[in-house]
């Protein structure tokens, strides 16, 4: 790891902000192309139905409508009509892939069956209502536990059953550990996470260029290279005929990494009509057509000795997969894998079943299944502590992996088959720090005093460890533009609000003159990089940041080498400052980066400077397979109104270790924002469906996102344990803040309501449910 510099590790203001603050940013809906048609989709109103016929004639007659396209119109243009994106796994029992447009059977409300193209969106929506689809409704199943029972309605009428995948994870002789354990405690947990709800919904603009025979798709995707690859595969085109560009993105949070039926439908509509086509998802569509995280049902038990030391943990998960595979088994895999990470647990076994349901597919939302694993672990620890009458924090301390055991090998394999090795961190120190800053030392006194005033306050705690920086690579090109001297950074590492351009500017400027305004990052365009994976899994600073660092270092070395030849001085006597290379002893002896780039850009027939290869640019593919494990602890004080069930957060501390910090302002921003998301997952967000799989929360009045008054001041305490896994020493941070919040809040609510013996085995929890638990506790005591 190189030493921190003035550029890196500093609170540098963002290069993204000026445009965003002046209304000059460019989101996909801000793109207008001449002759562009606007699209609206006809979507299934049923959870499950056969499609008997689709009559588009009335819709086509609406003035201003140019085309109404269905599956039949698409099939002649498709090498395959299915979007095949499932990550590899031996766990699959069925391959269930989404079609571009459904034409035979619809399996969730919101599934697209036709695309209407019109002069404007108003007309397109009018006409969409006139597309007559004759449906024969079929039984639907929404509860994943019910879906797995014999005789349950089939989610797909052609499937033998609703089990999408099943796997076991674990190590050690867990049954023997339980057989000999003095104490065993069991919990049945319902865990729900809703949607992502980026304030910008999804969107696409596609344009086909018949002269070049190429198609450009501007999309609010987090993964432009994957989008290009999937689209090329479906169309049967060479990838170089498709360019996918991600403009400014108004938040991602997971679901925008998925490739959707709408993406291929818009692209194909542009190809078929030879007109540019725009589709912008509205919020109601976001509720029924954008992937979500939803439900997991856990049965888990923990075996402990008399001192509260963990002997084993075992259980099972039933995971709501939705109607199709839009990402894979990764989400519950991460849930099961995360359970034990922070603690020394000698034996572990978890059975995981993924159930198909007649709902929109499930894929990662910020946290990606890992909050659920932590929730299970932390709820079991609270239970064990209470039963053994050991303080909750003390029982955790006895089981946390101590800092001096790092790196710590877990007998688990990542979903890519790699050994899980916790690379660094001091977990007990983070817990102690969070508790101290939350005022745990005198909390019992404050709690007693509050109780005398008729107030119910409680303190909750949760630890977490989260895998970040998913490999294997994210290429980055750093190039000095020979015409302007500006340093340009290209990458598939796609920005969606997490300050990726600023990160690139800091990391690259550190090597190339120290001025971030001389660095322009242009991520998220397949036209500038042949390969890329994109933005997800808290990976960009780890993967793309490392590649950028290595590429910038190469460019720096080359700039110094060329300059030493042009200035006739040894490279060691030169430095890069601002936009030029200069003699350390005499800055007037200098040459600009642009001149250096030009000198190696090639002039026909003239030789390059002696021993120098062409071009002042470098592309690096930093490869790492092991994940960098970030960690932290949340300590949260709540006050519960026992009459209304309202939960007010009095104090919120999160101690956090994401390795070396490149920009503390941005790390704070990521943690606090994710923590607010966690508050939503604990107390507000619920994506509801009725028994027929009709969504019942389809606007932001019914589905509650946290607003400013609900979010307390969130105090972040930085710990920095640099990882050895990459040259920057960084771990990912984007998702971490969400992970410990729900269990810490439930822990705090229970602590506040001890006299009512309130026990919480779910997330989220509503005020009504809290009141019911208080009432039950009162009755039991009476």
């Amino acid at each position: 790891m190189s030493a921190p510099s003035a550029v890196r590790s500093n609170r540098v203001l963002r290069v993204e902000d000026a445009d965003l603050l002046k209304g000059a940013a460019r989101f996909v809906d801000d793109l207008h192309l001449s002759g562009m048609l606007q699209a609206a989709f006809v979507r299934s109103p049923h959870g499950h139905a056969k499609v008997l016929s689709i009559d588009t004639s009335m819709a086509k007659d609406v003035p201003g409508v140019h085309a109404v396209l269905t599956r039949d119109d698409f099939l002649p243009h498709l090498a395959t009509e299915f979007i095949v994106v499932g990550l590899p796994s031996p766990a699959y029992r069925q391959d269930i892939n989404r079609p571009a447009l459904s034409g035979l059977e619809v399996v969730h409300v919101g599934e697209p069956v036709a695309i209407v193209l019109a002069d404007n969106r108003y007309i397109a929506e009018d006409a969409a209502a006139l597309v007559m689809v004759d449906y024969d409704p079929l039984p639907a199943v929404g509860d994943p536990r019910e879906a797995l029972k014999p005789g349950a309605p089939l989610v797909h009428s052609s499937s033998p059953h609703n089990l999408l995948a099943e796997f076991d994870m674990g190590y050690g002789d867990v049954d023997a550990a339980f057989a000999g354990a003095p104490h065993v405690f069991k919990e049945s947990l319902w865990q729900h996470r809703g949607g992502s709800h980026s304030i910008e919904c999804r969107g696409d603009v596609a344009a086909y260029d018949s002269f070049a025979d190429t198609l450009t798709l501007w999309s609010s995707t987090q993964t432009p290279h994957a989008a290009r690859s999937v689209l090329a595969g479906m169309l049967g085109w060479d990838e170089d005929r498709i360019r996918v560009v991600t403009p400014d993105v108004g938040g991602g949070f997971g679901p925008k990494l998925i490739f959707y039926p709408e993406d291929v439908a818009v692209a194909l509509a542009a190809y078929i009509t030879r007109r540019p086509v725009k589709w912008i998802e509205d919020r109601r569509e976001h509720f029924v057509a954008t992937t979500q995280e939803r439900d997991q049902y856990w049965d888990a038990e923990i075996a402990v000795d008399n001192d509260g030391k963990i002997l084993g943990l075992r259980g099972s998960i039933v995971h709501d997969h939705g109607a199709y595979t839009a990402r894979g088994v990764n989400l519950p895999y991460e849930s099961a894998q995360t359970v034990t990470l922070a603690y020394e647990i000698p034996t572990y076994q978890m059975n995981v079943k993924l159930a198909l349901t007649n709902k929109v597919p499930v894929t990662p939302v910020r946290g990606a299944g890992q909050p659920q694993g932590v929730f299970c672990m932390e709820r079991l620890l609270d239970r064990a502590a209470d039963e053994l009458k050991i303080p909750r924090a003390e029982l955790r301390r006895r089981n946390l992996i101590p800092g001096d055991k790092m790196p710590y090998t877990k007998p688990l394999k990542s979903r890519g088959g790699r050994q899980v090795v916790l690379d660094s961190g001091d977990y007990p120190k983070c817990q102690a720090d969070a508790l101290e800053k939350a005022g745990a030392a005198d909390f019992a006194v404050r709690q007693a005093a509050a109780r005398k005033e008729g107030r119910y306050i409680g303190l909750g705690l949760a630890n977490f460890v989260k895998g970040t920086g998913r490999g294997p690579f994210e290429p980055v090109t750093v190039r000095v533009d020979p015409s302007t001297g500006q340093i340009i950074v290209y990458s598939g590492a796609t920005a969606m609000g997490q300050s990726t351009k600023t990160m690139f500017a800091q990391v690259v400027a550190e090597q190339l003159g120290g001025d971030i305004t001389r660095v322009t990052a242009k991520p998220g365009d397949t036209g500038t990089m042949s390969m890329g994976l994109g933005g997800f899994n808290s990976r960009l600073t780890v993967m793309a940041g490392s590649s950028a660092h290595l590429a910038a270092t190469k460019v720096r070395d080359k700039a110094l080498l060329i300059a030493s030849k042009l200035l006739k001085l040894p490279a060691e006597e030169l430095q890069i400052h601002g936009g030029q290379v200069e003699a350390k002893a005499d800055p007037s002896k200098s040459v600009t980066l642009g001149q250096l780039a030009k000198s190696v850009a090639g002039v026909a027939g003239f030789v390059l400077p002696d021993g120098v290869s062409p071009g002042l640019e470098a592309t690096e593919y930093f490869v790492v397979d092991d994940m960098a494990y970030a960690n932290g602890a949340a300590a949260i004080e709540v006050e519960v109104d026992v009459e209304t069930g309202g939960v007010h957060i009095n104090k919120f501390v999160i101690a956090h270790d994401c390795g070396a910090v490149i920009n503390p302002m941005l790390v704070d921003g990521q943690i606090v924002g994710a923590a607010a998301h966690g508050i939503g997952n604990a107390l507000y967000e619920w994506m509801g469906y009725d028994d027929n799989c009709q969504p019942v929360t389809t606007n932001l009045g019914e589905y509650l996102l946290v607003t400013a008054p609900e979010v307390p001041l969130i105090e972040v305490s930085h710990h920095e344990s640099p990882t050895y896994l990459n040259p920057l020493g960084v771990k990912g941070v984007g998702e971490c803040g969400v992970v410990p919040v729900a269990p810490a809040i439930m822990s705090a609510i229970e602590d506040a309501l001890r006299e009512f013996d309130v026990h919480i085995a779910q997330t989220p929890i509503t005020p009504g449910e809290i009141v019911a638990k208080i009432e039950a506790g009162r009755k039991a005591k009476a």
């Binding site: 108003y122 980026s198 924002g673 607003t707």
Partner: protein
């Protein structure tokens, strides 16, 4: 074909006359007719607040208004908060500067509505408490920041405006 009507709307000090469909929302009018795309649409049902503009100085949801309702009125959008300046590095409005300095935006999609809402707040209440700021922006959803940097930026902007003796 929907009914058309001629309207004149003053946006950021400039009068625009257009013939529009009576059913066109004000948000779509601003974004697509006037190509002032700084105003964003997040929900189209008046909850998220991203489309908030100032109508005769008061906040309004441009997704819940028709363009024809704005006929004869003055509108301010995010593009009009700082006077246009060819110098990209020229100082912005103190609220915009405070937003940048306090990291009060990440993806920036909710920002146009936050800025217009806070300008109204600071005009009504030049020295708000942090609780008052939280209540004032409670009708604006942000999924990135957790709000606390927006609160900090608002308090910072209030201090800057006071120091400069300037009205928001």
């Amino acid at each position: 074909m929907a009914e058309m009507r001629k309207i004149t709307v003053t946006v950021n000090g400039q009068a625009h006359t257009r013939e529009v469909e009576t059913r066109m929302t004000l948000a779509d009018f601003l974004r697509h007719e006037l190509t002032l795309t700084g105003t964003h649409i997040g929900c189209e049902h008046g909850v998220c607040g991203a489309c908030t503009i100032l109508l005769d100085g008061r906040t309004a949801r441009s997704c819940l208004m028709l363009a024809v309702q704005a006929d004869g009125h003055a509108i301010d959008t995010i593009e009009g908060i700082a006077p246009p300046n060819p110098d990209k590095n020229a100082p912005m409005h103190p609220l915009q500067e405070a937003f940048r300095d306090n990291h009060a935006l990440q993806c920036g999609f909710c920002t146009p509505g936050m800025l217009t809402t806070i300008i109204e707040l600071l005009r009504d209440n030049p020295e708000p408490t942090s609780d008052e700021v939280r209540i004032a922006i409670s009708g604006n959803l942000c999924r990135c920041t957790g709000y606390q940097t927006i609160v900090a930026a608002t308090l910072d902007a209030a201090r800057r405006l006071k120091a400069e003796g300037r009205k928001p």
